[in-house]
Structures are given as structure tokens and as C-alpha cells.
Amino acid sequence: MSSKESCRSELRIAIRQLSDRSLYSASKWAAEQLVGIEQDPAKFTPSNTRFQRGSSSIRRKYKTHEVAVTPIAGVSYVATPVMEEDELVDADFYLLAKSYFDCREYKRAAHVLRDQNGRKSVFLRCYALYLAGEKRKEEEMIELEGPLGKSDAVNHELVSLERELSTLRKNGKIDPFCLFLYGLVLKQKGSENLARTVLVESVNSYPWNWNAWTELQSLCKTVDILNSLNLNSHWMKEFFLASVYQELRMHNDSLSKYEYLLGTFGNSNYIQAQIAKAQYSLREFDQVEAIFEELLSNDPYRVEDMDMYSNVLYAKECFSALSYLAHRVFMTDKYRPESCCIIGNYYSLKGQHEKSVVYFRRALKLNKNFLSAWTLMGHEFVEMKNTTAAVDAYRRAVDIDPRDYRAWYGLGQAYEMMGMAFYALHYFKKSVFLQPTDSRLWIAMAQCYETDQLRMLDEAIKCYRRAANCNDREAIALHNLAKLHSELGRPEEAAFYYKKDLERMESEEREGPKMVEALLYLAKYYRAQKKFEEAEVYCTRLLDYTGPERETAKSILRGMRSTQSSFPSMDVEHFPP
């Protein structure tokens, strides 16, 4: 990794250049990273520590192994020369246009810059035109919603922009920012391959534009595409890779990349949030919660990614924390899809599904492609027993992102609710294919196979076995495996799984009817096997419990004793238990 100091100076320049071009979110991102770079202890001043406290404490708490902060061997970064700004001929016009732009008067800004040829001016003009078109498109989309969902709202500026930018590129007069814009235009037009090449050109010549990286990421849908990209190795590429890995569900790769980046950007909120996201996908809810608590204490008005935090709170059923979070984001900015989702989650947790649907709808109104809202709304409809609507919502989620295993799972669940178990299997298979390490999915599929209509028990056993191998938290799989085997008349396998289940319950110190069932089965099994000692052990353990099983255990014990003493050769079966 290049030294912290050089990163810092690169970022400082980049932030200025990005905000000169009104690429706000990119400059925001860059600024966050700039502040996220850990200070050298030498220059340690109290005023700089504000952003550092929390995140480092998380790391102390959760770092199980010391991550090598030293750079990976063989990686050397290309020093990309910082772009030099050309002299503006008509700086005054540019300033006027920039202020118009900042007031969101895009057309006006473009008009001011109509005859300017400076690279900065050209970019700002094109970008202003693009944004004007986008804004108009959004408006039209609402104005013109036709029947059958027809909406032919298009960005009317795209054609002329494409023409201009492509000639610029042909003449070699294009700068990285215009390349980025060109990629954006191409992506909207649907020519993805060209868009990819253009964006790669852009990031190779100017790596600090995070917007370009995100656009590139959205065009990398498979690992193969990712590997085919010809990217210069710059430290920004590490950020990109980490993010792409996450998108491609290579969570562990992504986590290790982020850990590595933390070596330089130790205080970056962004990285913390991304780590939380990866941990969330790995279902490490406690860690996620801790990270978000720290993040919120550092950055209390953050709305980004907070819906994920609410999901965690939902899963842990923290009513008050969730309501507090909802209140907080609501006060910060109520018209963000994230805030609507959080409120929807809260109502859902309270069991008020109609209200939560209202909020998910609002989130979707704000952003039609807000994936998790579709899925969550599907869950709500399932709760409300409105399966048709649920199926529809899930399907839309799946169409937005075919890799959303939750929606596939939801589809399966909805169909299973309708008694179409066989039909549901198709969807379960899909979800399991996408997320083979999630035991819940396997269990759901197994239960689907187990339903009265299908009774495909062998397949169910296979699924449960997968689930048991996937760190099944609720320990359903082992128990059901044991039960299925005993149903199918395979006592040895059944005993094996009951024993495993028992061990597990012992280690987790859980008690309950399952424990009793396992003990009873094992006792009977060992008695039938004539291994009376083991049987006795289980029977005596059963004596600790109340209920009919205790009596059964007693009678088994009595039977065994009498067998052992008087009729050692007699078959045990002759004694009624």
C-alpha cells in the first residue's frame, strides 16, 4: 500500500477536482476516506481523534486474528499522476454555470457553457444536460404512467450526448470525467460491453472517481467478467474489488480485502459499514449490531445502510431499539427509501402488517428498484395471507436481481402455503443454488419434501443433511433427520442423529421436549440392541424429567433389571415397555 501520506494528498486533490465537476457523491466518498485515514501517532492531535475512537474499539473487540497489515507480497501500486487542471479561458462563465448547477438549474448551466471548449466546461455542460434529462425523465415517469405499465419516458438528451462524446473520444480529446459520463450514457443505452471498456479507460486514467467504479461494478455480473477487466493496480482498485466481491457473494474474500484496507483507512465509516454488510450476509448479527452502534455514535445522522441495521434489530426482536432508530431516521430524512423500510420493519415487528405495507410502498414509490423493499413487502403479504400479492412482489424482486435468494425463498414459501408443494420446490431449488450455505433454506426445502402431499422422504433427508452441515443454528435439521430415519425404519441412523442432537443440546445447554424425545429413543434403541448399560444411562437421565416419559423410563429400567437377573437369554421384546 502506498503510504498514508500519499493517499492523503491524492485524495485531497481529487476531492477538489471532483467537487469542481459537481460529482458530489464521489467527492463525498473521497472525503470520507480522507478522514478515514488513520493519523500517524507522531502528528496526533486531540482534535483529530474525533472520528477514530469508535471504530478502533470495534476492531479490538472482534478481531479474532491479527490481520497482516503489511501489503500482500508482489502488489505494487501504479502511481497515477494527478491530473493537472487546464487553465480556464473563461473562468467567469464557468463560475456562473457552476453556481447554476449547484442550484439544480441544469439547463441554465448548460446554456451558459454552450460555447466553452475547456475540458472542465465541456464536462460540466454534458453532465448538466444529462442530469436535466434524468430529472425530466423522472418527472415524466410519474406524469405518464400508462396502462399495462407502459412508460416510454426516456432521457431525451442521451442521443445528442452520445454523439458528442463519441466524437470527442474518437478525436482523443476526451478526459476521464467525460469518459465516465460516456460510460453512463452507453450503459443506459444498453451497450454494456462498450460501456465497460470506456469505464475501464476512465478509472485507469483517473482512479479517484468512485462513481465510475460503482458504475463499473454494476456492469460486472460474473466473476469471469471481473477477471477480464484490464485494470491498473491502484489502491482504489482494492476498494472496487472488495465491493464487487461482496456483490458476487464472495463474502469472505470481500471481508479480507476490507480488513486489509483498514490498515490504511482505519477510521473509515464506509469500510465499517461494508464490513457490516458482509457480516450480515454471513448472518453474524451480533457483530453487525456492534458495528452499527459504533457507526451511529460517530455519525448519528447517517441514513445509508441503516435499513440493514433495522433488519438485524428485527431479527433480534429489539422493539425499542428499532423504534428509536425509526424515529431517528424519520427526523433526519423521512423521504428516503431506507427510512421507509426501517419504519416498515418496525410495524412488521409490531404485527401491524397493513401499515408496514404502506411504508414499503412508499419506499418503492421513491425508488422503484429498491430491492429489499420488494422482498420485505412480499414477507408482509405472506404474513397477511395474501399469497397472490406476495408472489407478485417477490417476482418483481427476482426480476430486479435474479440472485436475490430471499425472494426466491419467499416465492417457494408462498406456493407451499397454497398447497402447491411440488411447484414450490422449483423456487426452493433456486434459492438453495444461490445460497448453498444457508441452513434455513435447506430446511425449508426439506420440509417441502416432507409435506403430506409429496412424502419424498429420501430427498428430505438429503436436504436436512446439507442443512446440518451448514451450521444449523436452531438445530432443527439434526432432530428431523433422526425422526425421519426412525420413521423409515433405520434405527441405527436414527440413533446416530439423536445422539448428535443430544450432544449439541448438551453443549448449548438447552433442555426441552426434544431432549426427552432423544433420550427416550436412545434408551429404547440400546435396549433393543441389548446394550443395557447405555440404555440405563439414558433411562436414568430421563428420570430427571417429569411427565409420562419418566414412567416409561422407570418401566424400561425395571424390565431390564429383571431380564438381566433372571432371564438373561430372554428376548426383551416380550416385556411391554
Partner: protein
């Protein structure tokens, strides 16, 4: 998503509708006398009116014509200066609409041309639009839609108007849209308008309106089954439909996937933009495509349709039917994975409530109709040859439709299950069906598959009858007939010793069932359907305007013989739906099969001919191919192989891409028989192996093919005099047929066994087989097979010694009427030869007195055998003839026949290919 969906079919005002309003204003300017200014007489004025009527009919969103198209159409309407005046007016008025206020004024002006009920004092000759006429309603709707617009809407309309006009002026294609070229150059239309006089017109206009309204309100099932309509829709050039289809077919066959752009882009342009305008039209188009796929799946170009569908989906994301179409497309091109995806996608979105014409209108239960999805999924698995999966899914469909009390779907599902059982001969369904379908569980007895099938068919038939699903009833009757044809009916619950076992299929039953199914056409009534015929209707509207009405009835038959007028009638929206025709067609095929089995060759041939001529356009390609197969088989049996092969060539060309297997099977069969007859055993063996390869297909096992392959194998072995091997093959084949209850095959295999024993010289062993075969034939009314079994029996008796000659002769004479009336060349000549042999063996027979009888029949036999190139038997006939001549002392004739004998024997010993074109194919 329940609540967010917008109501489809909302009437929105568009630039195109504004132009229509302008045209209406030109058509009926306020306060003008009878014929307004530009029009010199009534006729052109009326023409404009009709044109407008057609345009308003086809106005309903999705895709509307551009201004230049409209102008083009206007020009087509008439070519004199009036039209150009109208166009000029239109353009100038359009371009004068330059501010929102102009629009407001325009729409308040336009109300003036409507006659109101209260404006009593109308002057005599004034042109006024009736408020309630089609045009009037259109105008009122437009005004209303405009008044409902918000200001944003108005400004949008204005912008769009600007674009609409600019496109015409600059004529540059807009971004991301196809340009529309060569739309139509149809000039003949004028004649129709010119010939129309006033009285006629007024009447016509009224009646047309009435008709239109009637059509719109009526619920008509939605089917359009003619490729010709489609072709005439797509191809504006007035080529004879047949040649066009042939041309395009050839192109597609040549490169089904390569370079789709040239051919398909044309398709896209035509159907995607020019003709698909309204909501209903799109639906109609999709329906048509679905029917084409169903009829002739692989002939539809995969990519072409896919492009269109993608375009449609972009235009109308909520029109989920598109997914169904792409499912069908995938299905017909054997793309399992994406078919599965699309099917699931369709049912997820539509919940099965969109566009199925057999659903009675849904009474608003929120559940959706996912059971239809199951039904389709089951059929898909069936199609791809996964009978087990299909059965699972269909069982679930039965359960769910019972839960949802969707009796219609249940009936269809039962029909599908019985079809599945019928086709696949699954040896055991216990466990899958038993648990779910009540009759079995309530009986508590395990039945054979056949019995289950019977119960299913009955159940399905009953349901269909009580639900008045005519088409299903008909096809169920057909299935029953098929069942009767091939299975023994016995009482379902036959306990105890010797309950009366009625072991027979009755031809009367079969015919009754078949007739019941074809009653369909006489009492075909419109089933209630979710979709009306509106789409097809409005598609037909524009066409009908441009076509002289006469041509619809008098279709010039261009000699192909297969393009019948039936299809022309179906082009009319009110005619018989294609699916009905299809069911009817397959009833004819079934009849042909029935007669074939019962042994009446002429009747079988007639039925196949009827199908090939009358239903070729309406039936599915596999049915059509089957009809051809039957005809060719008939030719081979009655006219010899030469004719059959030439006919086969024609059929192969016709069904090149379609249902290859049927034609291929026939070809292999024919070649095999031919080779056997000519003694080319090696070739026969090779062909036999090919058949075996066909039979072991990956996509499920076809029992019919399998039996055919082993039959051929046994025959080949027999011809090679490997009796033991032949007998063992035939024996195992019999076991298989018995296991799967293939009764007809049972009889013929037994007969084959008898033949084998006869040839090996074990007449005594052969006798029981022949007798068993006879009894099978008797109980199944297989008359022709019975005759040939009798013949074999006679041969067996004869080979036991000359003392049995009279008995044999009696047997033959008993079978003669059947053999001569319906038998093929081979059977007949065999009968002649055996008869001659019987006479010759008979000690009472005096050769010198009655040699004529013997010689005549032998001559007949030898002639027919030469046609068949059946060297072995022909040699035998000539040998016998030579012997007779020798006895009689007719030396000259003797030498002649002996020479022929020699020729055939030589040919048999040195089999050679005489450059047979079909053999060289291999």
C-alpha cells in the same frame, strides 16, 4: 402487486387521436351542407367516413401509427386532389396547434360538430355526427380525456404533438426505434370505394355499426387459426399465400439460427410496428402466434419471435402474456431451461388469470389460479419426456383444483393425465394417483393402469359434460374412442370366478364415440371466455377495408390441393374456431386408424384423405404428418413401393422441419420392407438398427417405436432363416406387449410367431400361435389381420400334408372376400398362391380340366408381386406356373415362365442396388 396495477385500457389522448379529431372535423364541419367543401360527390366523402371508422376502431394505445403512416393511408384511400387537400388541411391544423391554449380552443370547438339530442332543429342536409355513433363516441371520449388532463398532461400532449409533426417533416427515425419502410402499396382498394353508392353506404354504415357493437358486447372465444390470415396480415404484397409461406419456410430451414437479421427484421418491422396498435390487437397477435406455434412449432423462427416479444415487453411491461408466448416458443424449440423459467415467470405475475380462454369469468376470489400453472407445467414435463415428473405435477394440479373447486381446470387436468397414461404406458402409477384421486382410494383396490385410465377418462368426460366444455367433451370422446380401440373393456370390479367377461372392443362403440365428438361442430356454441374476439376483430377491420369483399369467399386455389377454403372462412371473425376444427380433424385421423385396424382399407384411405385435404391448415403438424403417413402406407401396400417412395419424397419436403420422427419412421419401415422383399438382408439389418436407435431416444421411451423396431428385427432374422433367434426375439416382444397391454400388437406378434414356425417347418408348433392370433383378432374385431391369420392357418394345414388340402382351401375361401376387398398386394398374391397350391395338392383336382383357375390366380399373383419386387414369392408363383404348363405340355409358356422364375431367383441371390434414389440416401 394487487393495488399498484393500473387499470388497463384507459383512454388517453395522443397526437394520433388529435389528428383523428381534426379529420373528423374535416369530415363533418359544423354548419355545412350535405357534401362539405373538398368533396365533389358523396362517394369520396363516405370513403373518408369509413376510413375514420376503421381508425377509431383500432385506436387503443400501445402503438399508434406515426403521422407519415397516417398520411400514407390517407393517400391510399384516394389519389385525387381531395386527399391531398385533406392532408394539407391536417398538416396545417396540426402545426397551428402551438400553445396549450390552442389545444383548449380546439377541443372546445370540436364539440360543435356533435349533434345533441336537444338540438332539435337540424337543417335537412346538414352533416352532423350522432352522439351515439361510433365516431361520435370516439369524439366524446377524446374531449372527455382532454378535459381530464392536468396541465402537465396538456403540456406533454403539446410536446408530443411537436415531435409527431417534426418526425413527418424531417422524416428522420427517432432514437431507438425502427423506421417504417415499405408499409403498403395496395392500390386495388380504391375500386371498392368507387363502386359504392349512397343508399348502400348508409345502410352499410349502420349495419356495420350494429355489427361492431354486437361483436364488442358478445363474448366470443378467441381463436384465429389460420396461417393465411397471419400471412396476409404480415405481408402486404398480394402474393398467393402459399408461395410466400413456402419461400419463407425454405429460408428458415436453410438457416434456422444463422443470420436472423435480414429475414426477421422484416418480420419485426411489419408486425411489430405497423399492425400492432391496440391492446386487443396485441393480444390477438399473441394468440395467433400461440396458435401457429401449436400447429407448426419448429417452423416459427425462434429468434424472430423472441425479438418481437422483447420489444413488446419493453412497450408493455405489465402485459404478462408475453412471458407465456416465450414459454411456448421455448417449448417448441426444446429449450427446457428457459421454458421452465418463463412458465414460472408468467404464472407468478399473472396468477393464471390472464388470457386463458377456458376460464369462466373469475368471481373475484383473491387466490389466483395457480392450478393452471401446474397444469401447464405438467404438460411441459410431458412434452419434454419426463412422465414421472409430469405425473407428480398433475397430481398436485388435481389436488389444488379440487381445493379451489376449479372444476374446469380439474377436467382438463384429468384429461391431461389420461393422455399421459395413454401415451406413455407407465406400468405402475400406484402411489402417485392412488393417494390423491378419490375413486381409487374409495374403491380400495389396486387397478391396472388401463383401468385407472378408464376411470379417469370417464371422470373427465362427465365433468366436461356437466361444465359444458364442448371442446373438452369432444376430445374426451376421442380419447374414449382411442381407448376402446386398443383396450379390452372389462367390468371394473370383477371379483369371483368367471363373472361375465365381455372381452371385446366393439367397432360400434368406437364409431359412436367418434361421432359424438364431431357433433361438436353442429352444436358448437360460444363458450364463455375471459377474452373476447375483439382483438382479432379489429385486426381484421383494417384489412377488410382494403380488400374487395369478394376475394374472401372465392379464394383462387392455386393447385396445391391442400389450401382449402375452410381456412378462408376461418379468417372471418365469426367462423368456427380453429381449435374446433383441429378436434374435428383429429377425429378423422382416428377414424382412419380405426378402419385401418378393423381392416377396411378404402374407408381408412378416405378418412385420411379428408383430413389431408380439409384440415391440413387447421390441424397440428403432427396430425397432418400422420395423415400423410397413412396415405403413403396405403400406397405402398396397394400400389407398390415406387409410388410410395415418390409420395414420401413430397411428404418429406412438406414436413421437413416438423415432426421428423413420424416421417422418418415411415421411411425406415418402407425401406426395410422393400429390402426384405428384394432379399437385401444386409441393408435390412442396417435399417433395422437405425430403427433401434430411434427407439432408444433420450426423451422418454416410445412404446410404439420400440415394438416396431423389434418386429422389424424379428422379420429380418426370419428372412435370414435364423429361426431360433427370430422366435426368441418375437417371444420377448410378445411378453412386452402383453405387459403393456398392447392388444393389436399382441395379435400381430402371435401371427409372426406362427409364420416363423411355419417357415422353420414346424407346422404343428405354429398352429397354436395362429389360432391364438385368430382369437385375439376376433375379440378385437381386427378383420384384416384375422384374414391374414386365417391364411397363415391354411398354409400351416397345407404343410401338414396333402390330406388337409380341402380344409385349407375352405379356410382360404372363407377369408377371400375380406382379402380381395381390403387386402394389400402382398396378402392377395399370397392368398392366390396358397389357393393354387391347395388345388395342386388336392388329389381330387384335375389339372387338365380346370387348369384355368390355377393359372389365372397364379398370373394375378405374379403380376402383383412383381410390382412389389417380392422376388421370393414371385419365383414361387412362376415355379408353380411352369410346373402346371409342363403338365399340360405347353412348352412355350413353360419356357417363358421358367425364364421369369430364373430371373427372380437370380435377383434374390445377387441382391444389388439398382441405383434406388432413396437407398442412396443412407
Amino acid at each position: 402487486m394487487g393495488g399498484i396495477l393500473k387499470q388497463p385500457g384507459a383512454f388517453t389522448i395522443t397526437p394520433h387521436k388529435v389528428s383523428l379529431c381534426i379529420l373528423l372535423k374535416i369530415y363533418a364541419p359544423p354548419a355545412q351542407i350535405s357534401v362539405p367543401y373538398p368533396f365533389s360527390s358523396v362517394a369520396p366523402h363516405n370513403r373518408l367516413g369509413l376510413f375514420l371508422l376503421a381508425l377509431t376502431k383500432s385506436c387503443d394505445d400501445i402503438l399508434e401509427p406515426k403521422l407519415d403512416e397516417l398520411i400514407h393511408q390517407l393517400r391510399m384511400m384516394s389519389q385525387n386532389w381531395e386527399a391531398s387537400w385533406v392532408i394539407d388541411q391536417l398538416m396545417s391544423r396540426l402545426s397551428s396547434l402551438s400553445s396549450p391554449d390552442d389545444l383548449f380552443n380546439f377541443f372546445s370547438d370540436i364539440r360543435g360538430i356533435l349533434g345533441g339530442p336537444e338540438s332539435g332543429a337540424i337543417e335537412e342536409d346538414q352533416v352532423i355526427l350522432d352522439m351515439n355513433s361510433s365516431l361520435g363516441i370516439f369524439l366524446r371520449r377524446s374531449v372527455l380525456a382532454f378535459n381530464l388532463l392536468s396541465f402537465e398532461g396538456v403540456s406533454h400532449l403539446l410536446t408530443n404533438l411537436g415531435i409527431y409533426c417534426k418526425e413527418e417533416f424531417s422524416n428522420c427515425p427517432p432514437y431507438e426505434e425502427h423506421s417504417l419502410d415499405d408499409s403498403s402499396s395496395n392500390l386495388e382498394t380504391c375500386s371498392e370505394y368507387e363502386n359504392m353508392d349512397l343508399e348502400n353506404f348508409v345502410y352499410e354504415k349502420v349495419s356495420e355499426e350494429i355489427e361492431a357493437r354486437k361483436e364488442a358486447s358478445e363474448v366470443v372465444s378467441f381463436h384465429l387459426h389460420t396461417p393465411n390470415t397471419l400471412l396476409s396480415l404480415v405481408d402486404d404484397v398480394d402474393l398467393p399465400a402459399d408461395s410466400v409461406s413456402k419461400q419463407s419456410e425454405k429460408v428458415r430451414v436453410a438457416s434456422p439460427y444463422g443470420d436472423p437479421s435480414s429475414n426477421m427484421l422484416r418480420d419485426v418491422d411489419h408486425s411489430g410496428a405497423v399492425f400492432l396498435r391496440t391492446n386487443w390487437q396485441v393480444q390477438g397477435y399473441l394468440q395467433e402466434q400461440a396458435d401457429t406455434i401449436e400447429k407448426n412449432g419448429s417452423a416459427v423462427s425462434f429468434n424472430g419471435l423472441e425479438i418481437i416479444l422483447r420489444q413488446l415487453q419493453k412497450l408493455a411491461p405489465e402485459l404478462h402474456r408475453v412471458h407465456f408466448l416465450s414459454y411456448l416458443n421455448d417449448l417448441s424449440h426444446d429449450d427446457y431451461i428457459s421454458a421452465l423459467e418463463n412458465l414460472h415467470c408468467y404464472f407468478d405475475y399473472s396468477a393464471g388469470t390472464e388470457g386463458f380462454d377456458f376460464i369462466p369469468s373469475v368471481g373475484g376470489n383473491g387466490f389466483g389460479r395457480y392450478e393452471i400453472g401446474l397444469l401447464c407445467l405438467g404438460m411441459m414435463h410431458f412434452h419434454f419426456g419426463h412422465p414421472k415428473l409430469a405425473l407428480e405435477v398433475l397430481t398436485e394440479a388435481v389436488r389444488v383444483s379440487q381445493q379451489q373447486s376449479n372444476d374446469t381446470c380439474l377436467a382438463y387436468t384429468l384429461a391431461a393425465i389420461s393422455n399421459l397414461l395413454f401415451e406413455n404406458g407407465i406400468s405402475s402409477t400406484a402411489g402417485t394417483l392412488g393417494s390423491s384421486y378419490s375413486p381409487f382410494t374409495s374403491l380400495g383396490v389396486s387397478h391396472s393402469v388401463q383401468q385407472q385410465l378408464f376411470v379417469l377418462l370417464r371422470g373427465s368426460l362427465k365433468r366436461a359434460e356437466s361444465l359444458k366444455l364442448k371442446r373438452l367433451v369432444a376430445s374426451n370422446h376421442l380419447a374414449m374412442a382411442k381407448f376402446d380401440l386398443t383396450h379390452v373393456q372389462r367390468p371394473l370390479l370383477s371379483f369371483g370366478p368367471k363373472t361375465s367377461m365381455k372381452l371385446s372392443t366393439c367397432p360400434v362403440n368406437v364409431c359412436k364415440e367418434i361421432r359424438l365428438s364431431s357433433h361438436l361442430i353442429s352444436d358448437f356454441s360460444y363458450e364463455s371466455s375471459a377474452m373476447t374476439i375483439d382483438g382479432a376483430f379489429s385486426t381484421a377491420w383494417l384489412r377488410n377495408l382494403q380488400k374487395p369483399t369478394g376475394s374472401l369467399v372465392l379464394c383462387p386455389d392455386n393447385g396445391s390441393g391442400n389450401c382449402s377454403n375452410v381456412s378462408q372462412f376461418t379468417a372471418q371473425p365469426t367462423s368456427i374456431p380453429g381449435s374446433v376444427l383441429q378436434v374435428l380433424g383429429s377425429s378423422y385421423i382416428l377414424r382412419a386408424t380405426a378402419w385401418e385396424l378393423y381392416g377396411s382399407a378404402p374407408l381408412s384411405r378416405i378418412n385420411a384423405l379428408v383430413h389431408a385435404t380439409c384440415f391440413a391448415d387447421a390441424s397440428s403438424s403432427s396430425d397432418a404428418a400422420l395423415a400423410y403417413v397413412k396415405l403413403i402406407q396405403h400406397l405402398a401396400v396397394f400400389k407398390g413401393y415406387k409410388e410410395a417412395f415418390s409420395a414420401l419424397k413430397i411428404a418429406e419436403e412438406k414436413f421437413l422441419s416438423v415432426s421428423k420422427s413420424q416421417i422418418l419412421l415411415l421411411k425406415l419401415q418402407l425401406l426395410h420392407q422393400h429390402a426384405l422383399h428384394r432379399g437385401q438382408l444386409k441393408l435390412a439389418q442396417k435399417l433395422c438398427d437405425e430403427l433401434g436407435v430411434l427407439a432408444s431416444r433420450v426423451t422418454g421411451v416410445d412404446m410404439e417405436l420400440k415394438t416396431e423396431a423389434s418386429l422389424c428385427h424379428a422379420r429380418t432374422l426370419l428372412a435370414a432363416n435364423q429361426f431360433r433367434e427370430a422366435a426368441s426375439v418375437a417371444h420377448s416382444l410378445f411378453c412386452m406387449c402383453y405387459k403393456y397391454n398392447l392388444q393389436v400388437e399382441n395379435a400381430s406378434v402371435l401371427l409372426l410367431l406362427a409364420e416363423i414356425h411355419k417357415k422353420s417347418g414346424n407346422a404343428v408348433l405354429g398352429l397354436p400361435y395362429a389360432l391364438a392370433s385368430l382369437s385375439f383378432c376376433l375379440s378385437f374385431n381386427l378383420d384384416l389381420l384375422r384374414a391374414s391369420a386365417t391364411l397363415t392357418l391354411a398354409e400351416l394345414w397345407l404343410s401338414l400334408g396333402s390330406s388337409h388340402a380341402t380344409r385349407a382351401l375352405n379356410l382360404i375361401h372363407g377369408a377371400f372376400p375380406m382379402i380381395l376387398g381390403h387386402g394389400g398386394l402382398e396378402l392377395r398374391s399370397r392368398a392366390y398362391i396358397v389357393e393354387a397350391k391347395c388345388y395342386l395338392c388336392d388329389s381330387n383336382f384335375n389339372v387338365f380340366e380346370a387348369y384355368e383357375i390355377v393359372i389365372n390366380s397364379l398370373k394375378q399373383a405374379s403380376e402383383e408381386l412383381q410390382l412389389l419386387e417380392f422376388h421370393e414369392l414371385a419365383a414361387e408363383a412362376f415355379y408353380l406356373m411352369a410346373m402346371v404348363y409342363d403338365k399340360l405340355g405347353k412348352l412355350e409358356e413353360r419356357e417363358e415362365t421358367a425364364a421369369s422364375f430364373r430371373k427372380h431367383i437370380l435377383a434374390l441371390d445377387n441382391p444389388q442396388d439398382e441405383g434406388d434414389p432413396l437407398v442412396s440416401v443412407f
